[in-house]
């Protein structure tokens, strides 16, 4: 008789039964209340502990976690502004690119109007030369 094999099978069966019972237990209202209380207590004690520790550090004129977090938040706000500036620049660059592309594709090329020449003092006409006029 394989007693070790039997023991293994019994162990697995027990584990399966215990597993089902545990899953049933964690779904019960009593456990739900327990979990809610435990979570709330943990949040409260963590807050108290960290606040006391930070207060102690502050009284010693040492930088605590709150100070580091405060600096990190300022850094975050600066990064937010930088991101928005970069987005504006990208947007303007894209607009400029579209405008340039539209100009290049335009079928009608505008002729530059010749600039009016400044009037020159009248000279006696030279019969040997033919003046060219525009």
């Amino acid at each position: 008789m394989d007693r070790l094999g039997d023991a293994e099978r019994n162990l697995k069966e027990s584990e399966a039964e215990f597993s089902a019972a545990a899953e049933d237990f964690v779904a019960r209202p009593q456990f739900v209340s327990l979990l809610a209380f435990a979570a709330g207590n943990l949040a409260a004690t963590t807050r108290i502990a960290t606040d006391v520790f930070d207060l102690a550090l502050r009284n010693l004129r040492l930088a605590g976690r709150q100070d580091v977090v405060s600096l990190a938040k300022q850094l975050g706000r600066t990064e937010d502004k930088l991101e928005r500036v970069l987005q504006e620049i990208e947007g303007l660059r894209a607009e400029a690119g579209r405008a340039a592309a539209a100009r290049a594709e335009s079928p009608t090329v505008e002729r530059l109007e010749p600039r009016a020449r400044k009037s020159r003092p009248q000279r006696s006409p030279d019969p040997d030369r033919q003046a060219s006029t525009e």
Partner: protein, 353 residues
């Protein structure tokens, strides 16, 4: 193996078992080469370049806030990112980063309207394309859903052509979380007021307590049996165990909104979520949509993931209802041959220029 042989092997197996557990943190996950293309605060956007790109539409992967996104790229040979690259897609990954106390005031609006929106923009800019595919998994899928359902700003046309939602909670129905945090006993405001960030370890413990014996005992018992039999997959176990153990903190504002909107008030499905004054209406979603639901998912059961199918306006909707767990279906050992080919095939049909 005979009992005597097992007995003889036991001391060595004990050492090997202990070694596997103690060296889990050394496992390498998320190994596929990538470039950082954009970052803002703790958020990073990475690009994985395909050596054989055949599809112009890039893919942006978005995971949950409460675990690391390396699940998309778990290890060489078991990586959805690798499969997508091999299929000819350029892949982008949005990494929310290791959030901490200074990020406590980031709510879901910041993640959807800022980080995700800007990541979409940067993906298009980096890839040179005008459209992309958004893939959201778990809470990442919910954030993607909110993004797609947001009221338009200035009549902008959405650049998202395809959306893929993997085990994505839209409602809280059928999950144990509804009992735990949906009732009056769980004072989410008190928790959020006193924790600037909810500890990741606490959320991980809560997840494990949903199936306490399986998660806290059976997993180790099964590993021991495999080690004793000389069949342990060290790399497979360690990569998944390392990922499971990596739980970033959950910013308290986002935590408060998540618990209240999804579990206490069920706001998302009826269209009662507002982000910065813009309503989220799932009927605005008209992208090609693939919804993957898992039959043994106790974290986001089908009761909570299927409703999206009836709420969207998309004409092209595909539902893959497969057996499996919340993570195992998409990243487990069978996913590579049972699910990923379907995902790739669906994407290939909808990613032409």
């Amino acid at each position: 193996m005979s009992r005597l042989a097992q007995l003889g092997r036991a001391p060595r197996a004990a050492l090997e078992f202990t070694n596997i557990l103690l060296t889990t943190s050394d496992a390498e996950i998320g190994c596929t080469p990538r470039d950082l293309v954009w970052s803002h605060r703790k958020t990073s956007l990475y690009r994985y370049r395909s050596a054989n790109r055949r599809h112009p539409i890039p893919i942006l992967l978005v995971f949950a806030l409460i675990n690391r996104p390396e699940i998309f790229d778990l290890r060489p040979g078991q990586s959805l990112v690798e499969d997508l690259l091999a299929a000819g897609f350029d892949v982008y990954l949005l990494d929310w980063g290791e959030l901490d106390e200074e990020d406590g005031e980031m709510g879901l609006a910041e993640f959807v309207c800022d980080e995700l929106h800007w990541a979409v923009r940067e993906t298009l800019y980096s890839s040179g394309q005008e459209e992309l595919t958004l893939v959201g998994w778990c809470i990442g899928g919910t954030l993607v859903t909110m993004y797609l359902g947001l009221e338009d700003e200035d009549g902008h046309v959405s650049p998202v052509r395809n959306a893929m939602l993997l085990t994505t909670p839209i409602e809280a129905g059928g999950t144990l979380y509804l009992k735990w945090v949906g009732g009056k006993e769980f004072d989410v405001d008190f928790i959020a007021d006193n924790f600037t960030v909810v500890p990741g370890g606490g959320i991980d413990l809560a997840n494990k307590l949903m199936k306490p014996v399986k998660n806290l005992s059976t997993t180790y018992r099964q590993l021991w049996e495999k080690v004793l039999a000389g069949e342990a997959d060290r790399v497979g176990y360690q990569s998944m165990a390392k990922w499971v153990a990596a739980n970033p903190p959950f910013p308290s504002k986002a935590f408060r909104e998540w618990v209240t909107w999804i579990y206490k008030e069920n706001r998302l499905a009826p269209g009662k979520v507002e982000l910065r004054g813009r309503r989220v209406d799932l009927r605005r979603i008209d992208q090609n949509l693939l919804v993957v639901t898992a039959g043994s998912d106790h974290i986001t059961p089908r009761e909570g993931t299927e409703p999206v199918l009836d709420l969207v306006s998309s004409e092209d909707v595909t539902h893959l209802a497969r057996p499996g767990g919340h993570i195992g279906l998409v990243a487990g050992s069978k996913a590579k041959r049972e699910l990923w080919p379907s995902l790739v095939s669906w994407l290939e049909e909808r990613s032409a220029a």
